[in-house]
Symmetry: C2
Subunit: 372 residues, 2 copies
């Protein structure tokens, strides 16, 4: 067991997905984890799950991690600061400035509070969805402020490093505008696109492809949670959405002005070259934006991909990957694509560009059908 | 070799991704495929690639498939109808009504023309991206009209069935409004969200997670192609986008009205319960919409998933899948998730719900770490 950087017990308040995952990760390092939740049933589930123990009167946590819904986070922080006057307190809510302001306004001792936010999650919630590795390699923001000393805040850094996450420091304001951009506005955009499907004819929805699936995947998120998140980060999120709305107005105007397919050109019609220029600028801007997203997915140019046809029978994909190992090429990423009803699947394999030619030839030699 | 349903040669005009893929699929069934393209180089590449042969003076195609960009599709259809007076002509452009109208307006013989549209594609274009199985199990719309007989149109049905696609019949208008909803509007929405990232600070973009990646993936599409598609289907696309824009205005108004986090409430502030109700309705509407999308991805409830931790070394994933085969559980879908820099990956495995418990136990017995 790798030893924890923390020196005392950690109290986790709220044993949903994040709280349970933090607890499981700390338990794996031998930390004494104290679990608390408004629901005694949830505490029992999390204890049975191996996430820690129930609270007792004599607890002296070194660190309290508040993992409750955003609308009650500030009041729970204030309560914990007062209940454990020697503990450092952090929280994991996805908005930071309003919570810090509310803790200050309520007279909480912010010399011992620093907010944080792990950029990690799953579509499933609840203690049973918790997993010790949820934060591995994910960014975890610490939203520092002038009221807490570097030395005191170090306990939160230790927590983050214990869980294998990547520590990112920014101010609460920077954090909130960043997550508005990369998380909260995308949630709204995905939701609103998906909402168009609600009343659409079956025949139309049945034409859906991977593009629509990807754009709308996160629209399946929990409304009760998201109304809190969006309410708590309303101003920065609305600012991003205003940018989208203004662009959308321009696109709609350009589409109205385009002559091909329009029988009644709009009164305020743009000249043909103008609408086309607007559309190309928008589309190219999208190219530029998506290219900035780091990571293996999305617009990653570090890898090249080949597509191999795989029979839809057990063991076929395993055989493919085993043979790739024999050929000596490392798999960087893999995406499986089945068509409903088809007896064949497509495995899109990402590898280093220099390996493509050799891998393609070697797989073809072994009888694999390369589809692209 | 499975024999083709077609009885004569097929002429493919335009050997980009779709044309080459159609040609490869037909060649695999022994069809005499004649290739034509504005670029002689592209024809040479496609011939070398095994997609067919060049055109000759005596060609008598049974069927001509026009696979050129949308803005020249109608004029190429008219030209082909006149050059091959005994051939049935179809096209694969992603918009159908304006093309039919333009063919009629130009005096094309629509007793031999019926438009079609395969809902298939890849991010990569060009003849070298073509693959024979591109259409396998994918919907392929035939946009019938009163001017062509059932018997004549049958050649297009044969083409679609030969290529393993699923034939879907709808009118040109139904097609155009359907693809506006499931393809063209989502492209714009993804583009506009991605465009917000273009000027954002690195620190913000570095917090991106899978949600943003999914929402913006198709924003990487080719602007030159998409300006044509959107221009050709401007009216139905603008109609869907107006729906999104109106919802977006409501969301922005609701965010402005939410009190938490807003220091200067908007003049037209909604009461607290009203903004919350608006947001919940929007989010729940998104849930409803995304649940309607069929297929293995997205909101598919037919499968359950378990997450297994896999070392980022060659062969580990192959070993996992081999052992799943030994355990006797069929893999329905697989998603790999690497965090940049992490030495471990997560394999999210979709299986039938009744297999989850048995698989989880058997994998744990074999030493696999189950993360959820």
């Amino acid at each position: 067991m790798v030893e924890s950087r923390l020196t005392g017990p950690v109290r986790v308040v709220g044993v949903g997905l994040l709280g349970t995952s933090i607890a499981l990760g700390l338990r794996a390092r031998g930390v004494d984890v104290i679990l608390s939740d408004a629901s005694p049933t949830n505490v029992s589930i999390a204890v049975d799950y191996g996430a820690g123990r129930g609270a007792t009167d004599g607890d002296e946590p070194q660190l309290v991690v508040v993992c409750v819904p955003p609308d009650v986070t500030a009041s729970v922080i204030v309560r914990e600061l007062s209940a454990y006057p020697r503990a450092v307190v952090t929280d994991v809510a996805s908005v930071k400035k309003p919570i810090l302001d509310a803790v200050i306004a309520a007279g909480g001792d912010v010399t011992r509070y620093v907010g944080s936010h792990p950029l990690a999650g799953r579509e499933k919630g609840g203690p049973m969805s918790g997993r010790a590795d949820l934060f591995l390699g994910r960014p975890w923001v610490v939203a520092g402020h002038a009221g807490i000393s570097y030395q005191t805040a170090a306990a939160v850094d230790d927590l983050i490093l214990d869980l294998g996450a990547t520590l990112v420091e920014m101010t609460a304001e920077e954090h909130d505008s960043s997550v508005a951009l990369v998380s909260h506005a995308p949630q709204v955009i995905s939701t609103l696109m998906a909402r168009r499907l609600a009343g659409a004819p079956d025949a139309a929805v049945n034409l859906a492809g991977q593009g629509l699936r990807d754009v709308t995947r996160i629209a399946a998120s929990d409304p009760a949670l998201w109304v809190q998140i969006l309410g708590a980060n309303a101003t920065p999120t609305a600012e991003v959405l205003r940018g989208v709305r203004d662009d959308l107005d321009e696109v709609i105007q350009a589409l109205d002005a385009s002559s091909f397919g329009s029988t009644s050109p709009s009164a305020e019609a743009l000249p043909s070259s103008t609408w086309r220029r607007t559309m190309v600028e928008m589309l190219a801007g999208g190219n530029t934006g998506v290219a900035r997203i780091p990571g293996k997915h999305g617009q990653d140019r570090r890898y090249a991909s080949i597509v191999v046809m795989v029979d839809d029978t057990p063991g076929e994909l395993a055989r493919l990957l085993t043979e790739m190992g024999e050929i000596g090429v490392n798999l960087e990423d893999l995406r499986l694509e089945h068509s409903p009803g088809a007896q064949i699947g497509l495995a899109e394999i990402a590898v280093l560009p220099e390996a493509v030619e050799r891998l393609t030839a070697a797989l073809a030699d072994r009888g694999w059908r390369i589809a692209g």
